[in-house]
Point group: C2
Chain length 280, copies 2
């Protein structure tokens, strides 16, 4: 797996890690970054992680074989529409957003262009840290990367994006954007909100007594709130459904505790433990 | 810090770790275990962690200088009442339960005996594993141990129990049983229920997509449900208050998301992150 020019739009934690992974594993002959000038671009160039940088999206993407959009999810649909007319023949466009329905719809809404295709992507890797300074060449190693091809994504494009992520160390899985968004609402977006909510509920003196369990459960509540607000906004209906389901479980347990139904509570906790033990 | 005879009632994860810590750090001349005969007692004796074992509570505690009750929280008040008449002059009784009000009340309800005292204790250390096989000599190293002396606990007894835990590697803090129980409801009991509830909400295909964040947040949902039902039952009112507060935060965020109040959601998440960042 090796492309000619790889263009990465946005050089934060994920974009920086895509660039580092591509450089470390020689996945591209040339790596171009598109982004606002900032400390990240300078660091990336100094470290030899990118070959060139530009603030001009059109110029950055027009010679690229593979373009990876690494901007916050709310910006992705607009970036797809802005980049689309400037992609050259044979170019494949993908992204790393945590929510897929809107960005896939934006690509499907662009006029068909011979030899140009979009495939939605989501490497399930991240950190509560952000910015290029937190990027790592091995961020995707051993992680799942989800691709959400639509009817408009060519087989060739799906193969190229799959091969890229596999070469970066990921296991690739294909699913629809809608199934993806409902699943991540439950296993990622809800847990983030649940962690933030535990911190809100624990403010005050109690916090001084917090131990390792609380620390582990709320680590992700150190994540940048702007990014998470953006993700929740982009995945509103599935997130609302996930919160409602979670509150329902808690309400049921509150009732069992209030009424002293200990056997039923224990049976419910046992079922929850069984779910946890299914995890790899 | 060194006592003559240390008696440990219950040789599971915590009791086993108390025995191992005491042996490794020479905190007692002699270590006696009281418990039902089972594989744990045999292993402990074979490993040289205990010197003797008995199933007879009265016989096990009567020559002891320090008795540590390491049974499930629901059993502690009864064990305090059962052990009390058999303690010899100068004996100090303590426990490792995660809930303190009931066990302290049980001790306060025992007839005064010259030179015999109880001090409630709670080492904030544990594991989702249980049983003697999971015990470790360093389990308490660097952890907080909370003591909840009542008006009936003598200074001498508080000093002896404090010195024991400090010698086992803990930092000791004193607080009232009521303040303790409200605080742990929020930073320990609620997070356990929240983790179990995330697993319940995530059952199904979504679970296959769960990543590291979900794994960290739900690690404690692998804990034994019987122990946690017992803890919740023993700390019912503070746990109900903690769940209600948590559900209120989630309900508010559900409303902000439904109504598209993104700035207010982001401000709330920022406050939650600030709480998380106050943690050591």
């Amino acid at each position: 797996m090796r492309v000619g020019r790889l263009t990465i739009v946005g050089l934060g934690l994920l974009g920086g890690s895509v660039a580092r992974a591509a450089r470390a594993r020689a996945l591209a002959r040339e790596i171009v970054a598109v982004g606002r000038s900032g400390p990240g671009l300078g660091q990336a160039r100094a470290a030899g992680v990118i070959d060139a940088a530009t603030q001009d999206l059109a110029a950055g993407v027009q010679q690229a074989d593979l373009v990876v959009l690494c901007a916050p999810v709310g910006a992705l649909p607009g970036l797809v529409r802005a980049a689309w007319p400037h992609l050259g023949p044979g170019a494949v466009l993908t992204d790393v957003g945590s929510v897929k329905t809107d960005v896939v719809a934006a690509a499907d809404g662009c006029g068909a262009r011979e030899g140009v295709a979009f495939v939605g992507g989501h490497p399930m890797a991240g950190s509560e840290r952000s910015g290029f300074g937190a990027s790592e060449a091995d961020l995707f190693e051993g992680r799942l990367t989800l691709l959400t091809p639509s009817a408009r994504s060519s087989d060739h494009a799906v193969e190229r994006v799959s091969a890229f992520w596999e070469a970066a160390g990921s296991q690739v899985r294909l699913l629809s954007a809608e199934v993806h968004d409902r699943a991540v609402a439950v296993v990622s977006h809800l847990p983030h909100l649940a962690a933030y909510a535990l911190c809100r509920a624990a403010d005050g003196d109690a916090l001084e007594l917090a131990g390792r369990g609380f620390g582990d459960m709320t680590r992700i509540a150190a994540s940048a709130e702007g990014l998470w607000t953006d993700i929740v906004r982009s995945n509103r209906e599935p997130v609302l459904a996930a919160i409602a389901g979670y509150r329902e479980v808690l309400a049921r347990w509150e009732g069992l505790i209030r009424d002293g139904h200990w056997d039923r509570l224990e049976a419910d906790l046992a079922r929850a433990r069984a779910v946890r033990e299914k995890m790899p």
